[in-house]
C-alpha cells in the first residue's frame, strides 16, 4: 500500500496501532481507567471478571487500572530520558562530525570510556552515589544513552559531510547553520528517527530493569517494572498475573521495534529508479 509515495507495510500499521494504544492508554489513564489504581476492592489475586478485566493484584487493587497508570510513569520516564539523550547526543555528534579536530577527539574518547563497561554498571554506580528517584533515573539513562546517540549522529553526519554536495555548499561560502539545516540534517533524519525509536526501546527496558531491581520509582508510585517486583513472589506459587505489566512492556517494545524496522527499510531502499 502506498500513501503519498511512501510504502506502508502491515508491520508499520500494527506497530503504530500498538504504540497508539499504549501511549493513548497512559495519557488518558485518569479518564479511561475503570477504577482507582490505589484502592483495594477485593481479594488477593482475584481472577479476571467483567468488572476487573485483568483481575486484582496482591492487595486486591484493579490490575488494569494500575497498568494504565503505571504506563504513565514507565513511558514518561523513558521518553524524557530519550529526549535528553537526543538533545545532548545530536548536538555533540554533529559538532564532532563538522568541526573534527580536538572537539571530535575529546568527545570520542569520553564516549569510548563510557562504553567500555555496560551501562547498567554505570547506572548502579551512579545510583549508589546519588540515591534513587525518578529525576536521577532520567538523568542517568539520558546521559548514558547520549553517548550512543552521539556515535550514531556523528557517523551519520560524517557520511553526509564528505559528500560532494556539502563540499559544494562550503565552496559556495554558505554559513554553518545553512549547511547543517539544509544539506546535512534532511539527509541524516531517517537514520536518526530510527535511532530515536530504538533508543526509546532501550531506555524503556532500562527503566523497567531498574524498577524491577528496586532502584527505580519508589512506592506508592508504581511503574510496570516495580509492579512486577512487588508481586513477583506469587509467581513461584503459580500465579501468572504479576506478569501482566511485564507483558505490557514487551508489547510496547515490539510495537516500537516494528515501526523502527519499517523506518530502516525505507532508508536503505532507494527512493526511485532513474527516469
Amino acid at each position: 500500500m502506498r500513501v503519498g509515495g511512501i510504502r506502508i507495510t502491515l508491520t508499520a500499521i500494527i506497530g503504530t496501532l500498538i504504540i497508539l494504544a499504549c501511549v493513548g492508554g497512559a495519557i488518558l489513564a485518569p479518564w479511561v481507567a475503570p477504577h482507582d489504581p490505589n484502592l483495594p476492592m477485593g481479594g488477593r489475586w482475584d481472577p479476571p471478571s467483567p468488572e476487573h478485566w485483568l483481575g486484582l493484584d496482591q492487595i486486591g487493587r484493579d490490575m488494569f487500572s494500575r497498568i494504565l497508570y503505571g504506563g504513565r510513569i514507565s513511558i514518561g520516564l523513558a521518553m524524557l530520558a530519550t529526549i535528553l539523550a537526543f538533545v545532548v547526543g545530536v548536538v555533540t555528534g554533529l559538532a564532532a562530525a563538522i568541526f573534527g579536530g580536538w572537539i571530535d577527539m575529546l568527545f570520542s574518547r569520553v564516549a569510548d570510556v563510557v562504553l567500555s563497561i555496560p551501562n547498567l554498571m554505570w547506572a548502579l554506580i551512579i545510583l549508589s552515589g546519588f540515591g534513587t528517584g525518578a529525576t536521577i533515573i532520567v538523568l542517568t539513562i539520558g546521559s548514558l544513552y547520549s553517548v550512543y546517540v552521539f556515535r550514531v549522529a556523528r557517523s551519520v553526519a560524517m557520511n553526509v559531510v564528505v559528500l560532494e554536495y556539502v563540499e559544494a555548499a562550503r565552496l559556495r561560502g554558505e554559513g554553518l547553520m545553512w549547511v547543517i539545516l539544509r544539506e546535512i540534517l534532511p539527509n541524516a533524519l531517517p537514520p536518526l528517527a530510527a535511532e530515536f525509536g530504538l533508543r526509546f526501546c532501550f531506555a524503556f527496558l532500562f527503566v523497567a530493569a531498574l524498577s524491577f531491581l528496586g532502584l527505580g520509582v519508589q512506592p506508592p508510585d508504581a511503574d510496570w517494572g516495580s509492579m512486577v517486583k512487588e508481586s513477583a513472589l506469587a509467581i513461584p506459587a503459580g500465579i501468572a498475573a504479576p506478569l501482566y505489566p511485564a507483558a505490557a512492556i514487551a508489547l510496547l517494545t515490539i510495537g516500537v521495534n516494528m515501526v523502527v524496522d519499517w523506518l530502516l527499510s525505507m532508508y536503505s531502499r532507494p527512493q526511485g529508479e532513474n527516469a
Partner: protein
C-alpha cells in the same frame, strides 16, 4: 603487529584506570557530602563523623583514590559499611557463583548461536531464517525478568522439572550445581542467543556479498567449501567482536537474572549494596565488572588483529 598489540594493551590499561577514576568520582566525590547522603534521615552528627572516619573523608579525593586503587590491586577493597566485614570476604564466594553462572551460560550460548547464525546466513530468506528474525525481535523486546518468570511459571511450577530458586550448597556435587542453576542459565542463554545469532548472520552475510565469494562460486566450488574456506576466515574478526559484545549483554543480564532466581551472586550483592548505599561494596563490584568487561574486549581485539591476514603478512 606486535606494536599494534602493545598499543591495544596499553589502551586497555589506560581505559581501566580512567573507568576506575570515574567510578571513584561518581561514588565518593561528585555527590558532595556523602556521609550525610548515605545516612539520610539517621544523620546525627556522631553517625556522620563515624562514616567520615571510616571512609577517610577528611583527606583530599585524589589521595583517597590512589589509596583505594592501590588497595584494590592487592585485593583489599576496605570494609563494608553495612556489616563491617572486609569487602573482599563478602565478594569472594559471590564472585565465584556469578562467574560459574556466566561461564555456564556462555559455554552453551556462544557455540550454539554462532552455529545457528551461520546457518541462517547460508539459508537466508528461508523459513528458518525468518524464524531467527522473529525470535530476535521477541528477544530484544522482552525484559530479562519476563523471560525468567515465564520459565519459572512453566518449567518450575507447571512441570516441576527444575527448581525456581537457584540455591545450592558447596558440599553438593557439580552436576547438582548445574541442575540447580539450569533455569537462570537458560534465561541468560535466551537473552543473548537471539542477538548473537542475528549479528553473526549479518557479519557472515556481509562477507558473503564480497566479490571474492562470487569468484569462488564461479570457480565451481561447493557451497560448504565456500563458506568454510572463503567466508569464515574473513568473518572471524567480526564474529569475535559479536561474541565480546554479547558477553556484555550477559553480564548485564546476570544482575537481573540473579534477582529473579534469588541467586547469591555478585550482581545481587551489588544491587543490595546500591540500595543500602554501601559505597565500598559498590566500588569493588563495579571495578570487578569493569576488569572482566575490559579484559574481554581486549582479548577480542587481540584475536581479531591476529586473524587479519593484512596484519599477519605485512607487505
Amino acid at each position: 603487529m606486535l606494536k599494534l598489540l602493545g598499543q591495544r594493551l596499553v589502551l586497555g590499561i589506560l581505559t581501566l584506570i580512567l573507568v576506575s577514576a570515574l567510578i571513584f568520582a561518581v561514588t565518593e566525590w561528585l555527590p558532595g557530602d556523602i556521609a550525610t547522603n548515605i545516612l539520610g534521615q539517621q544523620a546525627t552528627p556522631e553517625n556522620v563523623a563515624a562514616i567520615r572516619a571510616e571512609l577517610g573523608l577528611d583527606r583530599p579525593p585524589y589521595e583517597r583514590y590512589v589509596e583505594w586503587l592501590r588497595g584494590a590491586v592487592d585485593g583489599d577493597f576496605g570494609t563494608s559499611l553495612a556489616n563491617k566485614r572486609p569487602v573482599a570476604d563478602v565478594i569472594g564466594p559471590r564472585l565465584w557463583n556469578t562467574l560459574f553462572l556466566a561461564a555456564y551460560a556462555a559455554l552453551i550460548a556462544v557455540p550454539l548461536s554462532v552455529f545457528l547464525g551461520i546457518l541462517a546466513a547460508i539459508y537466508r530468506n528461508s523459513i528458518y531464517d525468518r524464524l531467527v528474525n522473529i525470535s530476535t525481535l521477541a528477544a530484544i523486546s522482552m525484559p530479562e525478568f519476563f523471560i525468567g518468570y515465564i520459565l519459572i511459571l512453566f518449567l518450575a511450577v507447571q512441570f516441576r522439572w527444575f527448581p525456581a530458586i537457584a540455591t545450592f550448597k558447596p558440599e553438593q556435587t557439580f552436576t547438582q550445581h548445574l541442575y540447580a542453576t539450569f533455569l537462570p542459565m537458560l534465561t541468560l542463554v535466551l537473552v543473548v542467543i537471539a542477538h548473537m545469532m542475528r549479528m553473526t548472520r549479518t557479519s557472515v552475510l556481509t562477507v558473503m556479498a564480497s566479490p571474492y565469494i562470487e569468484m569462488a562460486l564461479l570457480k565451481g566450488l561447493s557451497k560448504a567449501r565456500i563458506v568454510v574456506r572463503h567466508a569464515l576466515p574473513n568473518a572471524m574478526a567480526p564474529i569475535i567482536n559479536v561474541i565480546a559484545l554479547n558477553l556484555a549483554y550477559l553480564i548485564v543480564g546476570v544482575v537481573v537474572v540473579e534477582a529473579v532466581f534469588t541467586y547469591n551472586g555478585l550482581g545481587r550483592l551489588m544491587v543490595d549494596a546500591v540500595s543500602k548505599r554501601d559505597v565500598p561494596v559498590v566500588q569493588a563490584c563495579g571495578l570487578i565488572f569493569a576488569v572482566v568487561f575490559i579484559g574481554l574486549n581486549l582479548i577480542a581485539d587481540v584475536l581479531s588483529i591476529l586473524s587479519n591476514p593484512r596484519l599477519r603478512h605485512p607487505r
